[in-house]
Symmetry: C2
Subunit: 326 residues, 2 copies
């Protein structure tokens, strides 16, 4: 397979094909139907695209790259299935979550089986790439688990601040994009320096992505995103906005935020009051600045790579992600 | 490291050391303490011993073998953590289960992180062994997940019979011992035929082990086993005994069994009635015969291997497992 002239749409089709093909590896499994359902829930397939483009930026897109891209997407989907159980989420992307559809026990097993399936895809990679790919991938899995654990504990502890939050999202969201980019670098045959540069790109893009996600909780388009506005406030999440507010809002505006967060049930007018305090106190602007700052750091990771279609594609992907409105 | 003269106790110490060392791979993880707790819950470490002895039966016990043995034990423990959530089990080996101790969410994550840790241990294996080891290991993980899923669905469906049960335990219990033995064969440098023979050993030993477990639910020593007698009846499990009873008990005795299984709450005298029906109807004897039959098939797997300390150790291990009284 040559990378020349392959469009994102064509890569997306190849990735879907690879996911479909992975199901053959669990042909007789009673959990296959559940995993197929997870695949059918869709998503933008950002992470496997990062893997493919990263490989293209340092070498070429071989069969190994598609195996690795599928492994990354399956890993991501596994984390969603288990996270949805933990977060008690009923829907995702407008569809019912696996544990609502099939029960918590089956959802735990669907996730576990997806993890094994991800490693199965990875195992298809040729000898040169297998060990280093596995190392990068495992590091991603471990950090993602840590990130989710930190998220759990931060939500229960008072007094956690911005640095705890950045550490948490670096792991929960950053580590998977980092692994996606590094894995692409490894299977694309990149040098150690190139793989590291790609890691910088992925990690910081992930952080930018998560801060934007927190921002769009209040600013985005409810219909497209499929969840009500201000959900983080309703659920009293210690989001970037909340923590930034604690740091930099004046006393009267912080009081508004904390009053809402201390209510047993947060009403619509509370959300509105917090939104106004954030807006007027410059929290939205601060969030946008942080998104830009992390995106720039991400792109600076690419600076040392030679010019290539893959590098352009990663740059475009990063820019389009942080310009999203939903 | 030479295998000559190393005793089981010495191997057990090496395995514990390897487990301890694996924690360094997640040194900063918020989940490390939970995993350490799981390791401290103990257990007989049968599976990693099988890996070590299997390696010894075809070659030698190198560092790779200990990495693989640790991976197998961590995989086994991961399945216990998630199974305990699914089975709503409060204790295991006399200690509180992880989800009771730290909540379901943390227990899900501890399990997930253990799976990543198992692959981390495996990744330490040298080049020659990595891919084949990974293949064997993944196959084990997938089958174990399938086995647990089948167990879930069998418990909810009527009309499942002995063949469904054997399929289920082949995966739920057999596959892990199969993987343990095969992985030992692979990292010990065994031939394809030797690895297959070891697989036959592990699979059938696992089936024997599970049938014995079902038998000891009624026959064993409650204190040592740490759970009340007849728990399978109280929980209306479709155990080997129950399914064999459906096949071969006379009508009046089946009626006794089914009467107990149809009660909202199974009382002590119901357990006693079922136990008598099983005993008098020859179900216990039939179970013992099946245990012997599968154990013999397991040992026949070893027949083609050359004489060695490892082979002797596997034989002894199998015999001691199926002679256990608790």
């Amino acid at each position: 397979m040559s990378e020349s002239g392959t469009t994102s749409e064509q890569y997306l089709r190849l990735i879907e094909g690879e996911l479909e093909e992975s199901l053959l590896l669990i042909a007789g499994s009673p959990l296959k139907e559940g995993i197929k359902y997870v695949f059918s829930m869709g998503g933008k397939r950002v992470r496997p695209l990062v893997t493919v483009f990263a490989a293209e930026s340092v070498g070429k897109v071989s069969g190994d790259v598609l195996h690795a891209a599928a492994a990354i997407e399956i890993l991501h989907n596994f984390t969603l299935v288990h996270d949805d159980i933990m977060d008690n989420a009923d829907t995702r992307r407008g569809k019912v979550t696996v544990h609502v559809r099939s029960g918590v026990n089956t959802a735990i097993l669907v996730g576990d089986q997806m993890m094994a399936l991800a490693y199965d895809c990875l195992e298809k990679c040729s000898g040169d790439h297998l060990r280093e790919g596995l190392r990068v991938f495992n590091e991603g899995v471990k950090q993602v688990c840590d990130g989710q654990a930190l998220d759990e504990s931060l939500s229960k502890t008072n007094g956690s601040g911005m640095s705890d939050y950045i550490d948490m999202i670096s792991k929960k969201t950053g580590a998977l994009l980092k692994a996606a980019a590094e894995l692409g670098g490894v299977v694309g045959g990149g040098s150690r320096t190139e793989v590291e540069s790609l890691g910088t790109f992925g990690l910081n893009l992930g952080i930018a992505f998560q801060i934007l996600d927190d921002l769009l909780d209040l600013e985005g388009d409810a219909d497209r995103f499929g969840k009500p506005k201000g959900l983080d406030i309703i659920e009293k999440k210690k989001s970037f906005l909340f923590l930034k507010a604690q740091e930099s809002l004046d006393r009267s505006r912080v009081a508004v935020v904390n009053a809402a967060y201390s209510k047993a049930t947060v009403a619509e007018q509370d959300v509105e009051a917090v939104r106004n305090a954030y807006r007027e106190g410059g929290i939205f602007d601060a969030a946008r600045e942080e998104v830009s700052r992390y995106t720039e750091t991400a792109l600076s990771g690419l600076a040392s790579l030679r010019e290539s279609r893959g590098k352009d594609a990663l740059t475009n992907l990063a820019n389009s992600l942080v310009q999203r409105k939903f």
